[in-house]
């Protein structure tokens, strides 16, 4: 068998031939005088070729503090902190506690643990009560962790078996995410030549073989009559850095192009919006739960826009209060608070853009859409992100009706979601009547909600000066994007981790393949 060795491999092999019993990895690297990258490469190749074997001599686990751990040692661990808080304020509730910290998830976990250990109980109304002493095992664990400030890293194997167990189970329970401790397992290994796999003669490389093609070789003509050293095709080529657009934005781009193709014109608008455009102009009553302090984000400063367009505002006021020109409506029969209308918030729905478009005199017939960043007042978890994209739009056309609304939604189901089966469900939105939810059958995942739509109510259209019927629609594109990108956690859409990005890009490639087969 003839071998093709890279010069780095040859250096390692030569050193090993002179050490029949093998050599500790770190000593071998010193002997061949390579940096750790080169050495890893060379030994990696040799192991892949099955010429070199390694024996683990000893495992050492180095324990050090993570950034979170450092913080805990300084400020106290969440469990300690919770109990201290509770001592200071015995009427403390779970809710208040969660609100006072940056990461409520961590608090929830600590509370869960304390409950499990019987230290803490939650009374009705969310009040907390200490029911038992702080467990000595946890105290001991935290004691060991605190020694790390002075004495880091600590070698796990040097600890007593009891302490080793304590740290080990502590780490397992914590999980990887926001760990307190970093465990670096270092193996001390010996590398040796596989018996009989190779003889020293195999290393007798011809010295006249040419390495890389260089400008000098070409210009001097020294390549004439010479042979180039063949490369090993088993060596994996280096991976370049990704340089691509973000897969979620690419998905948005596809949707945008699709909508433009269908004759829609794009609308843009502010993310800081007044309640007037986000709510009042859409006939959402001022007392509606969706306008509650627990449902939208308000801006602290500035709190309000200074002026409202008095013409539009007075007509909107009339349909809300049910007094004056109401265009055949009873209205909400509630006083209309102008100060509330001026309050600034973070846009909660793309429909605000449609309202602005209608008020600014849209072309008739006209079709408009927006891919709007909207904000949701919710605890962040794997299906809820604080901000998300919404596809929204309107069709302004004489004769637009419930049937055209269904036609449009069927078109979206086919063109945007690639679905063939559609079901229309009655729905409720304060600004449309009739209202419909469209559900589509996804080839793999079954029935899912694609979006909501309806005909704008006269109470929305007439005050904005529109007498033509208007179809309003919205599609939940974040869900479709998650499916496309193989994500089960919506937070990953906004992750900065290059590993996560890479895996999104790969899933998209796979889903494209699957989709092509489906076609």
């Amino acid at each position: 068998m003839s071998w093709n060795f890279h010069p780095l491999e040859i250096a390692v092999l030569k050193a090993l031939f002179s050490r029949p019993a093998g050599e500790r990895e770190d000593l071998l690297r010193e002997a061949v005088r390579m940096d750790s990258g080169q050495f890893q490469m060379a030994t990696g190749w040799l192991k892949a070729k099955n010429l070199v074997e390694e024996t683990v001599l000893e495992t050492r686990t180095e324990v050090s503090l993570t950034e979170t751990g450092q913080k805990y040692v300084e400020d106290g661990f969440p469990e300690e902190w919770i109990l201290r808080k509770l001592k200071e304020d015995p009427s403390l509730t779970l809710d208040a506690l969660r609100k006072s910290v940056e990461d409520p998830a961590q608090i929830s976990k600590a509370i869960g643990d304390l409950k499990e250990m019987g230290v803490l109980s939650i009374l009705p109304g969310g009040r907390l009560e200490q029911g038992g002493p702080f467990p000595p095992s946890l105290e001991r664990t935290y004691g060991i962790i605190r020694t790390l400030v002075e004495n880091s890293p600590l070698t796990l194997e040097d600890l007593s078996p009891e302490d080793r167990d304590l740290l080990g189970s502590f780490q397992r329970k914590r999980g990887k995410g926001k760990g307190v401790l970093r465990f670096d397992v270092r193996e001390i290994r010996r590398l040796s030549l596989k018996k009989g796999a190779l003889s020293p003669e195999d290393l007798d490389v011809r010295n006249d073989l040419l390495g890389p093609v260089t400008p000098e070789i070409i210009q001097s003509g020294s390549w004439k009559g010479a042979t180039f050293r063949p490369y090993s095709l088993d060596t994996p080529p280096p991976r370049p850095m990704l340089g691509q657009t973000h897969p979620y934005r690419d998905y948005l781009e596809e949707v945008r192009k699709q909508l433009v193709r269908l004759g829609f014109e794009e609308m843009t608008g502010p993310i800081v919006e007044s309640e007037f455009w986000n709510m009042d102009a859409l006939f959402i009553p001022q007392t509606h739960p969706a306008r509650d302090i627990h449902d939208i984000y308000f801006v602290r400063d500035p709190r309000e826009i200074t002026t409202l367009d008095e013409n539009v505002a007075s007509r909107v006021r009339a349909v809300h209060s049910g007094e004056g020109e109401t265009f055949g409506s009873r209205g909400w029969r509630q006083p209309f608070n102008e100060k509330q209308a001026r309050r600034l918030l973070l846009r909660s729905q793309g429909t605000a853009l449609s309202a602005r478009k209608l008020a600014s005199g849209p072309r008739i017939p006209g079709k408009y859409f927006a891919l709007a960043r909207c904000f949701r007042y919710e605890q962040v978890d794997q299906t809820h992100a604080v901000d998300f994209y919404q596809a929204e739009g309107i069709v302004v056309e004489e004769g637009a009706s419930f049937r055209t609304l269904l036609g449009l939604l069927s078109l979206f189901a086919r063109e945007v979601a690639g679905a063939r089966e559609v079901h229309f469900k009655p729905a409720y939105f304060p600004f449309t009547e009739p209202s419909v939810e469209v559900h589509v059958k996804h080839p793999q995942l079954g029935w899912m909600e694609l979006g909501g739509a309806g005909l704008f109510r006269p109470e929305v259209l007439r005050p904005l000066g529109v007498t033509t019927p208007v179809i309003a629609w919205g599609l939940g594109i974040d869900r479709m994007a998650m499916m496309r990108l193989g994500l089960s956690d919506i937070r990953d859409l906004f992750s900065g981790s290059l590993h996560t990005l890479q895996s999104m890009i790969l899933s998209r490639a796979r889903s494209r393949q699957a989709y092509q087969q489906y076609l």
Partner: protein, 569 residues
């Protein structure tokens, strides 16, 4: 949105139909409900009700009634609702003292007699009470409900407002007699709803003719008069609030639900300043639906008899066909018809959405992307060409990340008044923190790292009043063992040149950069800079947990193309 928990058995027995378990979800289309959970073992259902304007449907009785086309699950015609009180004169009454007019002016109620509630009936009654007062009554501010066993109550009742310390009674959940003030301060319910009364100098109280306290609306019932059990068969129900329309609707829904469960009712008269009102008021709202409206909305020819029949099937009490349209009357437990279009939607639901043939919009319109997106698209294109990977971040972040962690002041950051958590409590004013955070999460990914992001950010401009400026930022990071200012500057200059500018740098001293290794980017001499670039100081790298030399830049596209972003401001 209201979510209802009930059992399949209860729903089935109330509808009087055999419900196909697998078709339940589509059956719920009729009530705009969505089956969230169906536990086959226990038979428990969770239904989300989407119509925030029809509280009658937030109850299992209401759902069953709607599924039966408005007929009562009790199988009796609605005329029998007051069967037991025929000829009762005078009706039991509540006297309203003028003192409540400033606190909580409206009260209504009725008496219900029937078979014992039973466990499921009681559970549902309590759920209904909670849901109506929390959601429809907006956490009891608009409407609160009290339910009592009739047993020892002596009519007439007296509803009045009194000084906080003048009345004491034993509230539910307590064993001692407390003053109204004490309840508000110390009782759990008192603390929860304190804000509804704390600014008042008198508090409402409801007592019977012998002076026994029934309740302290809208806070809590008395323990001895206000605890209902599953064996109770005679109840007194009242609701208090601000607006008589809302109070009446809640009373009507509770009346309908109890009738559905086999009760019959005695109305109660409310006497105030010599004016007598009797609850429940049974007239449903009337609407005239213009003759052409159903056709305009549906987009097809609608048979007038069909329209009439379908509305009657959906529970409407009367639908009269007239020359100018349809005169319709909704049932007494509904108050959601604001405009004739609402009746047309009921017709569509009754006929079934899937019975309409979709047709496409008829007009041709030409599609177009917003021109303000052009610069954004161009830089994204150019940056990927330079080998930069795009990232996408949340627009909300924490004040620390947006300011302190970059060594920058916080006066330009737009804060949220009511954040859910500190982690997402401000709107970003820069993308730099996201790039640093991305880099710190990616240290195990092979180098070099080249990252960029384009997106919206906000800036608060000082002044009185202050204002918010929306920006379109474009920022990037370069990170690898030899990463340097000049490497990144070279790349960015090339991008700007491709966009038609001749960029230059001027000195800039700013965190988180190394002094003397950062600059402002200008695209025209004597004009304000459009951005900045600099090598990140190791002190700040350390703060972000980054161990690799890194260089950052940020450019405000809205400064480069002020005309395009005008509507963002």
């Amino acid at each position: 949105m209201p979510t209802l928990e009930t059992t399949f058995k209860d729903l089935e027995s109330l509808t009087g139909m055999t419900l196909p378990a697998d078709k339940l979800d589509s059956l719920l289309d009729w009530v705009k409900g969505e089956l969230k959970d169906f536990d086959l073992k226990t038979g428990t259902l969770k239904i989300e009700l989407n119509d925030t304007n029809r509280p009658d449907l937030w109850t299992v009785e209401g759902i069953a009634r709607q599924l039966r086309g408005g007929r009562s699950p009790s199988g009796r015609p609605w005329e029998e609702i007051f069967a037991e009180s025929k000829g009762v004169d005078p009706l039991p009454s509540i006297r309203v003292h003028p003192s409540v007019s400033r606190v909580r002016p409206v009260i209504g109620g009725f008496i219900a007699r029937g078979p014992a509630l039973g466990e499921e009936g009681l559970t549902q009654l309590i759920q209904t009470q909670e849901r109506l007062s929390e959601l429809y009554g907006r956490k009891r501010a608009d409407v609160a409900i009290g339910i009592y066993p009739l047993r020892t109550l002596r009519f007439p009742l007296l509803y009045e407002a009194v000084a906080p310390d003048s009345v004491t009674f034993v509230p539910l959940g307590s064993n001692s007699s407390l003053s109204l003030r004490n309840i508000l301060e110390n009782h759990p319910k008192g603390r929860t709803y304190k804000n509804l009364l704390s600014s008042r100098d008198v508090y409402p109280v409801l007592r019977d003719d012998s002076g026994t306290v029934l309740s302290f609306p809208p806070i809590i019932n008395a323990r001895d008069t206000g605890e209902v059990s599953s064996t109770d068969s005679e109840l007194f129900v009242e609701a208090t609030g601000i607006d008589s329309g809302r109070v009446n609707l809640v009373i009507n829904i509770l009346a309908a639900n109890l009738f559905d469960r086999g009760f019959t009712l005695t109305p109660v008269t409310v006497e105030e300043n010599g004016i007598r009102t009797t609850y429940p008021r049974m007239e449903g709202p009337e609407v005239l639906v213009p003759a052409d409206l159903p056709e305009r909305i549906t987009g097809e020819v609608i048979d007038r008899d069909l329209f009439q029949r379908k509305l009657l099937d959906y529970g409407y009490v009367e639908v009269e066909i007239r020359n100018d349209g349809y005169q319709v009357r909704a049932p007494f437990y509904r108050d959601d018809l604001l405009h004739p279009v609402d009746c047309v939607e009921d017709f569509l639901i009754a006929r079934g959405y899937d019975t309409f043939t979709p047709s496409l919009p008829a007009s041709f319109t030409s599609g177009k992307e917003a021109s303000s997106r052009e610069p954004e698209e161009l830089v994204r294109h150019l940056m990927t060409g330079m080998g930069f990977q795009e990232i996408l971040s949340n627009i909300l972040t924490s004040l620390e990340k947006d300011t302190q962690d970059l060594g920058r002041p916080s006066d330009k950051t737009v804060e949220i008044d009511n954040p859910v958590s500190r982690q997402f409590s401000v709107v970003r004013s820069t993308l730099l923190s996201f790039l640093l955070s991305a880099e710190s999460q990616s240290s195990r990914y092979p180098y070099p790292h080249r990252l960029f992001e384009v997106g919206e950010a906000l800036e608060k401009t000082s002044g009185s009043p202050s204002s918010v400026q929306e920006k379109m930022l474009f920022a990037g990071l370069l990170s690898h063992p030899q990463a340097s200012f000049s490497e990144l500057a070279g790349m960015i200059f090339e991008v700007l040149r491709t966009m038609g500018h001749e960029p230059s740098l001027s000195p800039l001293e700013s965190c988180p950069y190394i002094a003397g290794r950062s600059g402002s980017i200008q695209i025209e001499k004597n004009r304000d800079p459009v951005g900045e670039i600099g090598e990140v100081h190791p002190e700040w790298l350390e703060r972000w947990g980054i161990r690799m030399p890194s260089v950052l830049f940020e450019i405000d596209l809205s400064k480069m193309y002020p005309g395009l972003y005008i509507e963002r401001k």
